[in-house]
């Protein structure tokens, strides 16, 4: 067996590569507890933009005075609309796109919340819990998709956002919007199954879709997935969003707190003793 210099360096390089990139960064379909996340796949090519899901959502969450303006301008979700459908002028004509909470696998709002009111459930939905929230609105600051909305005109305000119909899911049913969609543009299921289904659709009809599933890696992976015939920025989605999770942005700071809390007092005490002694000596002289 002969190992010359070149093969040796090649092997070295390969080993180093394997060590550094050995653990591939893949968005997980599972929560920390090991249960599999649920999600919804939204196929823009099937959606006709009928706003039916908005009515179903309002129905499911008990908004009585619900209304969709005629000839609507660009709309955002707000404290009365947990989901809205907008129409965008794209390179392939006017296309609808539904906006709602993305239900990130590792949500920024959950990490931001200091009372654990924002909570990623093991089933997949990110929910808001009334009895815990103190209304600081830090979740609104942190959310990269600008989803949590606040009832500014209430004396006991709530944070309003899509909860993926958690009450229906826990009874084994499926979310109202996905259940009622007449075009089957919304598909509810296990996140891993949905990704497989999305890949199959892209594979079967490569001309119909662009080769990307929005939400597979965005913000570290989201439970809500988008398929589109046009680049996602044409549908008003942020395509510059980072592919690692948002809580990872503060991880460094949070893990430095305990060492500083423990070590800095010791350092300060040391300086105090040092300066005390030197000033005593000066006084003696």
């Amino acid at each position: 067996m002969s190992i010359n210099r070149r093969t040796f360096f090649k092997a070295m390089g390969a080993t180093a590569m394997a060590l550094t990139v050995g653990k591939p960064v893949v968005a997980s379909n599972e929560t920390e507890s090991g249960t599999e996340l649920n999600g919804i796949l939204y196929d823009v090519t099937r959606c006709r933009g009928c706003h039916g899901c908005e009515w179903d959502c309002a129905d499911a969450h008990g908004f009585s005075d619900f209304d969709i303006p005629k000839n609507p301008p660009f709309r955002q979700t707000d404290e009365k609309h947990r989901t809205v459908v907008n129409h965008y002028e794209t390179s392939k004509g006017s296309l609808p796109r539904k906006i709602q909470c993305m239900h990130c696998n590792q949500p920024a709002c959950d990490a931001a919340c200091l009372t654990q009111a924002m909570h990623k459930t093991p089933e997949g939905p990110v929910i808001w819990r009334e009895d815990k929230c103190m209304g600081c609105r830090y979740c609104m600051i942190s959310c990269p998709f600008d989803i949590p909305k606040f009832e500014y005109h209430s004396t006991n305000p709530q944070i309003v956002k899509c909860d993926m119909c958690i009450n229906l899911i826990s009874e084994g049913e499926i979310p109202a919007c996905a259940y009622n969609c007449p075009e089957e543009a919304l598909m509810y299921g296990k996140r891993s199954d949905l990704i497989r289904e999305a890949r199959r659709r892209i594979h079967d009809e490569p001309d119909k879709y662009i080769d990307h599933i929005y939400g597979e890696h965005e913000a570290g992976g989201t439970s809500w997935l988008y398929l589109s015939p046009v680049p996602f920025n044409e549908l008003g989605l942020n395509t510059n969003i980072q592919h690692t999770s948002y809580p990872s942005l503060t991880k460094g700071f949070i893990s430095s707190i305990a060492p500083v809390d423990i070590l800095l007092p010791a350092v300060l005490l040391g300086i105090y003793e040092a300066t005390k002694k030197s000033s005593n000596k000066e006084e003696e002289i």
Partner: protein
């Protein structure tokens, strides 16, 4: 001085309660220009606060769904905490580095810091939608330990306690409580050491709050070094506040000081201006480093870029040079001007990050309502009233009572 010794003499005869009641009466003139301006503002402010709890936050503020933190957080808390940074810097200089020449301004600075924190937490409670649930954070049934805000909140709370302990000997001296005084001075050193640690962490923590708003803050202001930039800038922001506030209180309470004190105060100011200049130099170096590292050149030639240049050149570089010059020429007036410029710069920086350049691309811009400004002024005015009440009664600026050992 004379009246002070008289009250001490009288205090031994009367009971503590009648003493406290007599101290509640106002000292000094009632119809001063400050009172005439501040009293109506406070009355209007209290009415607005009442309306806020009656009709909801939206009834008195212009907050939007895009910009959920407005003036009450961006100015009262984010900027205010930086301004209150003087307390931990001076405590570090006097109690840890043993720089005795700064001791005369220590108590007033610690008192200022404590009151500032007390009133900022009040402002924070006004801004909370469900303020009663704040108890969840304290009693611990719902600890969100992965939250930066949780850690900031706790460091904030504990630091207030540390500041109160650091100031408490003055209260004991006022009440003539000698045993209590001995105990409080005994535990003060612990409060000092933990107070500085807690400060470093919550000052940087306020910067860390905005780390997750990565796509929302303009790239010229957002960077991963925000916590470091916040803690470094809090050093000279705090000292500038000490200079600014000291210059005013030495005029207002000049009756409590003699000529030697005034001369000593000038020496203190020149010393502080040197520290400010060095702190600002370090901050500027960091800013340049971040600017180069994040490759932000492309943004400079735009309206936001000019706004950024104004902040850095006009309110960091300029006051830094003024502090340097003022230190070399011993020019107290120049120091005061530089301090005011620095404070404006810090205000600009914190407001840029939390309000002005936060969602700078939003369709609906947030401009604070007059009610928000009035409530902010109300909080500042009440704080000044309380400060004045304390300074007129307790040994903050004035000489210590005779029974207290050691120099002031």
């Amino acid at each position: 001085m004379n009246s002070n010794t008289q009250t001490i003499g009288m205090r031994q005869k009367e009971s503590i309660f009648s003493f406290l009641i007599s101290e509640l009466k106002p000292k000094g003139k009632i119809f001063t220009p400050f009172n005439i301006i501040s009293f109506p503002v406070i009355v209007v402010g209290l009415v607005i606060i009442f309306l806020r709890f009656k009709n909801g936050i939206g009834s008195v503020t212009n907050l939007t769904q895009d910009v959920p933190w407005g003036l009450w957080i961006g100015f009262d808390v984010v900027t205010g905490v930086a301004f209150a940074g003087g307390a931990y810097v001076l405590v570090f200089m006097v109690n840890i580095l043993n720089l005795k020449q700064y001791r005369p301004i220590l108590r007033i600075t610690v008192l200022n810091g404590f009151l500032a924190y007390l009133f900022y937490s009040a402002a924070l409670l006004l801004d909370l939608g469900r303020p009663l649930n704040v108890i969840n954070v304290v009693i611990g049934n719902n600890f969100g330990v992965s939250s930066v805000l949780f850690l900031v909140g706790w460091h904030f709370l504990l630091y207030m306690l540390a500041l109160l302990i650091e100031f408490s000997p003055a209260i004991a001296e006022w009440l003539n409580a000698r045993k209590l005084h001995r105990f409080l001075t005994g535990i003060a050193m612990g409060a000092v050491i933990f107070g500085i640690t807690l400060s470093v962490l919550h000052q940087s923590g306020i910067g860390a709050l905005f780390l997750m708003a990565k796509d929302k803050i303009h790239p010229l202001w957002y960077n991963s070094y925000l916590p470091l930039l916040f803690v470094v800038s809090s050093v000279f922001a705090g000292i500038s506040m000490v200079i600014f506030e000291g210059s005013i209180s030495h005029k207002v309470f000049s009756g409590q000081l003699n000529e030697n004190d005034q001369q000593a105060h000038h020496n203190i100011l020149t010393g502080l201006s040197k520290i400010c200049a060095l702190g600002m130099f370090a901050y500027l170096t960091l800013l340049v480093l971040v600017f180069v590292h994040e490759q932000n050149y492309a943004y400079i030639n735009s309206p936001m870029g000019y706004w950024f240049l104004l902040e850095v050149l006009g309110f960091v570089v300029l006051p830094m040079l003024m502090f340097f010059m003022a230190y070399r020429r011993q020019n107290v007036l120049l120091i005061r001007i530089a301090a005011v410029l620095t404070l404006l710069g810090i205000m600009l920086n914190r407001m840029n990050i939390s309000i002005i350049c936060y969602r700078w691309d939003a369709a609906e811009r947030y401009i604070p309502s007059w009610q928000e400004f009035t409530v902010t002024l109300t909080i500042i005015f009440i704080e000044i009233w309380v400060l004045r009440w304390i300074v007129r009664r307790m040994p903050v600026l004035q000489r210590l009572p005779q029974w207290v050992g050691g120099g002031h």
